[in-house]
């Protein structure tokens, strides 16, 4: 730029004058200063509130630090008798969920085609009107059973309220998604109880864990981490042992005293090999077996046929030599594990958690080990979970239309042999079957278009349903496909109350109170149900006489004041462990309420042992090695052709009585030509099944063992990688007969050769800016194979690897 001398002088004089006279100079000065200066985070009045985290069923006690109305930190609640002030990383990152820029803040109605991403924001009034109109008209025209509810979670008040809504409305079609719990199925088959077993982990001295992610997920991670630490250190000189048996060196395997790799899906065989040694050497508990079990010895049935018992079957079929061949675990190790299991009790056998087609069978085999050593209803063993503390909400009075709907359902178990009571491991077959009848689908906390192994089948089914509404905090893959999206608030903005975590034998109640006003127009699922019921009115409205979720929570906890045993978390809980304080005489429910809010929860009856009436509810009144419940289920299923096809997957003929005993069957899919490797999928603590992929802190901690952040990775044993000429960090195509993904290979000795392991939870195409496009979703690789007993999807496949 040409500046003449005159111009230059003019500019200088003018600016100098301006500076000297007025604010120009200060402005310039400020600009110069500001570019160096950081800003300050505004201060405010500090306040702490106690609540309970509901991001997983673990229900850890938490404290929220508020500055004015902003939550700036989540800390643990030291008064919580189980979690004692600890928090897992997911809870520590919860504020990145609450304050995520991707949160849905208002109800939205689809404009344009499904999945096209065009939305019109609505008021709640309008949104509820639309939903209620749809519900009313379909109820009148086609019947109440045309409403299908899909619940993504089982803990908290929302599932109860949603079920209540379904009941009052008149639909029996409520599907509760569960990641599958083979141990619960095993408990039903052997002890006749339909529930997740509880474990006396804190008092166990030897734990044989068949792939249970004790410290990196599963029921209550914080409790389990503490239990492991206590098992090791509580009694000096008497250290407990954890043996982890799985194909991959998970964080739990890394912490275990011993990691024993075994071929994927062969947990059942290993358990039976150990059982063989226990029986052969007489290492089992003969008194318990004689008194409390059924089916150990051979017997003769009414028709005079010889029924084999567990003893003869396991001695005959599961010799260590055979088991070593199947599992890859040496005979010597099998014998040693059996010896240790019997000698260093109290011993507890747990797992597997699912993923393979033989998961339930494996769980039966594993639980048999507990029965053999008398580890049921005993110290350090498997216990029946505590009775829920809460009173039931008053019964619903369904109107005639609802009664009609409730009676109309044909609740076929579908692809599963065992009765499911509405809990399903994956939606595709159900959605498909119900899509012709369903007119309104209401989803809560469920994202099948991302996580279901048959997402395509789900997609096709969803297309047939006229009205789809979802309650979700983010626009996830499924919400993106819906017609009506209802923004859900997080636990920091909601009222809720939690029962004991799964696996915990003690009665415990965690109270969740809102620490913040809800973000935008978001509401908790419970509040949405109350509002919807009110909108519909009639008997449905009458079933929900509460004006707010706070009132519902109070209705639940007011009953605690009458409970004879238990008390609000005592001040010194952290020191005392899990001792329940004596109930002080609360003058009024209000006094109890205040105390609960101030301290975070209630500690009820501690664990009990030897309650045989509750623990053994089979027809024989005993633990059944030979499961009569299974016999009934198979007999009921046999006439159906699809069942025959499924049952062919058992090694034995389905009329073989040994089928009723714990046994091993080859995991599916079996060898597939051209796809030599076995794929293993696992959850990480950081990402869960993908619901936390949009939280940056969690993406940063996802894989310290292979130094990976913000990505997926495929773990390969160096020997396998060498044979495929794959180097560490190479991009590879991971391909199954059903799909393929591109991912980075990480060479690592913590996985058996011939397998490749991948985390679940990455590869989102929606949800938010941090999750979208991060990593790859391995669900695309899975087939429609299921566990024939539970119907759970198999999280395994046959794959091949090529360099990308």
């Amino acid at each position: 730029m040409e500046v003449s001398r005159r111009k230059f002088l003019q500019l200088t004089v003018v600016s100098t004058a301006g500076v000297a006279l007025g604010d120009g100079g200060t402005q310039l000065g400020n600009v110069l200063q500001a570019s160096e200066q950081e800003e300050r985070v505004p201060n405010g009045v500090e306040q702490w509130l106690r609540t309970t985290c509901t991001l997983c069923p673990g229900g850890c006690g938490a404290r929220v630090r508020l500055i004015d109305t902003r939550a700036v930190k989540l800390d643990g609640n030291p008064l919580h008798p189980v979690t004692r002030g600890g928090l897992c990383p997911v809870a520590e990152a919860a504020l990145q969920l609450v304050y995520s820029p991707d949160r849905l803040t208002e109800p939205m109605l689809r404009v344009g085609g499904r999945g096209q991403g065009e939305w019109q924001p609505l008021s709640w009034e309008r949104a509820l009107q639309i939903l209620a109109d749809g519900l009313r008209s379909h109820r009148d025209k086609e019947g109440a059973e045309t409403l299908l509810l899909v619940l993504g979670r089982s803990h908290g008040l929302a599932p109860e309220l949603l079920r209540r809504f379904a009941h009052a409305y008149g639909t029996p079609e409520v599907l509760e998604l569960t990641s599958g719990d083979p141990a619960a199925d095993a408990l039903w088959l052997t002890q006749g109880i339909r529930t997740t077993p509880a474990y006396d982990l804190e008092n166990a001295h030897y734990v044989l864990s068949f792939g249970v992610p004790l410290v990196d997920g599963w029921h209550g991670p914080v409790r389990q981490m503490l239990a492991l630490a206590e098992m090791r250190q509580a009694t000096p000189g008497h250290r407990g042992k954890l043996v982890q048996l799985e194909a991959r060196l998970s964080p739990t395997a890394a912490k275990a005293d011993e990691w024993i790799p075994l071929a994927p899906g062969t947990e059942g065989a290993l358990a039976l090999g150990i059982a063989h040694v226990l029986v052969a050497e007489g290492f089992y508990n003969p008194a318990f077996v004689a008194e409390r079990t059924f089916g150990f010895e051979d017997s003769t049935d009414a028709a005079g046929n010889r029924q084999p018992g567990f003893r003869s079957m396991v001695l005959e079929q599961y010799a260590p030599a055979r088991v070593a061949q199947i599992t890859g675990v040496s005979e010597e190790t099998i014998r040693r594990l059996a010896t240790e299991f019997a000698r260093f009790g109290p011993a507890l056998a747990i797992g597997p958690i699912g993923g393979h087609s033989n998961a339930v069978e494996s769980a039966l085999a594993v639980h048999a080990l507990n029965a053999l050593v008398g580890g049921i209803e005993s110290v350090g063993g498997v216990l029946v979970p505590p009775v829920p503390v809460f009173p039931e909400l008053p019964p619903v009075d369904p109107d005639p239309k609802a009664r009609e709907g409730l009676a109309s359902a044909q609740r076929s178990p579908g692809d599963a042999l065992l009765p499911l009571n509405g809990r399903v491991a994956n939606l595709a077959p159900w959605l498909e079957r119900l899509s012709d009848v369903t007119k309104v689908l209401l989803l809560w906390d469920a994202n099948p278009l991302f996580s279901d192994p048959e997402a395509k089948r789900c997609h096709e089914a969803l297309e047939k349903i006229p009205l789809i509404a979802t309650i979700a905090p983010f626009l996830d893959e499924t919400a993106a496909f819906a017609d009506l999206v209802l923004p859900e608030s997080t636990f920091l903005e909601s009222w809720d109350v939690l029962d004991s975590a799964p696996g915990l034998p003690d009665q415990l109640v965690g109270l969740t109170q809102p620490a913040l006003a809800a973000r935008g127009q978001a509401k908790s699922a419970g509040e949405i149900v109350l509002a919807l019921a009110r909108e519909l009115g009639g008997s449905i409205g009458a079933a929900f006489p509460w004006e707010s979720m706070e009132q519902v929570v109070r209705a639940k906890v007011d009953g605690l004041v009458r409970d004879a045993q238990g008390g609000v978390f005592p001040e010194a809980a952290a020191a005392q462990g899990n001792e329940a304080a004596a109930t002080p005489d609360y003058e009024s429910p209000d006094a109890l309420w205040q105390d609960l809010l101030n301290r975070g929860g209630w500690s009820g009856r501690p664990r009990e042992y030897g309650n045989w009436r509750r623990a053994l509810q089979t027809r024989s009144g005993k633990y059944e090695f030979s499961s009569q419940n299974l016999r009934d289920a198979i007999t009921a299923a046999v006439p159906r052709e699809p069942m025959r096809a499924l049952l062919k997957t058992f090694d034995a003929d389905f009329t073989d009585p040994r089928l009723l005993l714990p046994h091993y069957s080859t995991p599916l899919p079996e060898d597939v030509d051209g796809f030599p490797l076995r794929l293993l999928l696992f959850r990480t603590l950081a990402l869960g099944a993908g619901e936390h992929a949009n939280q940056p802190f969690l993406q940063e901690i996802v894989a310290p063992h292979v130094n990976v952040q913000w990505d997926s990775w495929a773990e390969l044993n160096p020997v396998t990688a060498a044979s495929l000429q794959i180097a560490d960090g190479d991009w590879i195509w991971l391909e199954s007969p059903h799909g393929r993904i591109r991912v980075r290979a990480k060479l690592w000795p913590g996985i058996v050769p011939g397998a490749v392991a991948l985390p679940l939870g990455q590869g989102h195409t929606a949800v938010g800016q941090y999750a979208r496009g991060t990593g790859a979703n391995p669900i695309a690789l899975l087939s429609a194979t299921r566990d024939p007993l539970s119907g759970a999807a198999v999280l395994s496949a046959r794959v091949r690897v090529t360099r990308a």
Binding site: Y99, K241, P251, F697, Q709
Partner: protein, 243 residues
């Protein structure tokens, strides 16, 4: 500045037998201290900042493999190599024995980061405080801790801002600061109760007793850094006694 012997000598004990490598401490620290999060590219460059991070060292070959999890944070050395090389006294040891980092003084020469044998000093390669957090997330920042500009080093301060609160509280109550008056965010969050914090000099304190355990060791002790973070070795199960 030498440590004042009348004050607590703040130290930490990390029991590796209890630690499960869950990284709750890592996240708690970031949330407490306004540490910005990285992107995939930035992390790939190794520029992600974690005042405490968990080293997961894989040992052995298949099938005898083990991972050793080790939370690594500023060791708050009593003879810190980093403070000796700082040209501006931006990093120094204060009377409570805490090695401080004063951002306005730091000129970003990174000499201290090079000098630290534990590699726990982190450089702000980007002006993260300005662009990293969306407006919504800025609401959950901690007002007790600075937002750092580009070009300065940062590191763990044993949550010194919490210590300041505790000292103020103690002074107002007219009593000396006690070992249990405050804990850093990492220690508070640890779900396995693997971290203990307190006065290393107080014979009654847990840290003092644990520091004398036969399992206790300090990292790179032979370098003479005198770290105030003590680790307890993982235990081993005795196959003979079953305990």
């Amino acid at each position: 500045m030498s440590a004042d012997k009348t004050q607590p000598l703040w130290g930490m004990v990390i029991d590796l037998d209890r630690c499960t490598g869950c990284q709750a401490c890592v996240v708690a620290c970031k949330q407490e201290n306004n540490v910005p999060f990285s992107s995939r590219e930035e992390a790939a460059y190794g520029r992600e900042i974690s005042w405490i991070r968990v080293m997961a060292v894989t040992e052995g070959e298949f099938p005898k493999v083990k991972i050793r999890y080790m939370p690594l944070l500023c060791q708050q050395c009593d003879a810190p190599p980093c403070t000796r090389v700082c040209p501006t006294r931006a990093t120094y040891k204060n009377p409570q024995g805490i090695v401080g980092q004063i951002y306005p003084r730091c000129i970003g020469c990174r000499y201290c980061a090079n000098a630290c044998p534990y590699q726990v000093k982190y450089f702000n390669w980007y002006n993260w405080s300005h662009f990293r957090w969306p407006a919504e997330m800025r609401e959950s920042l901690n007002p007790d801790v600075s937002l750092r500009p580009k070009g300065v080093i940062e590191k763990c301060t044993f949550c010194h801002h919490r210590l300041q609160h505790a000292r103020e509280q103690a002074a107002i109550e007219g009593r000396p600061v006690e070992s249990t008056d405050f804990v850093p965010a990492c220690v508070s969050s640890c779900p396995a109760r693997a971290m203990v914090f307190g006065d290393l000099r107080d014979p009654e304190s847990t840290v003092h007793k644990l520091a004398a355990s036969p399992r206790a060791f300090r990292m790179l002790e032979d370098l003479g850094t005198e770290p105030k973070v003590v680790y307890l070795k993982e235990g081993e199960w005795n196959a003979t006694t079953g305990g």
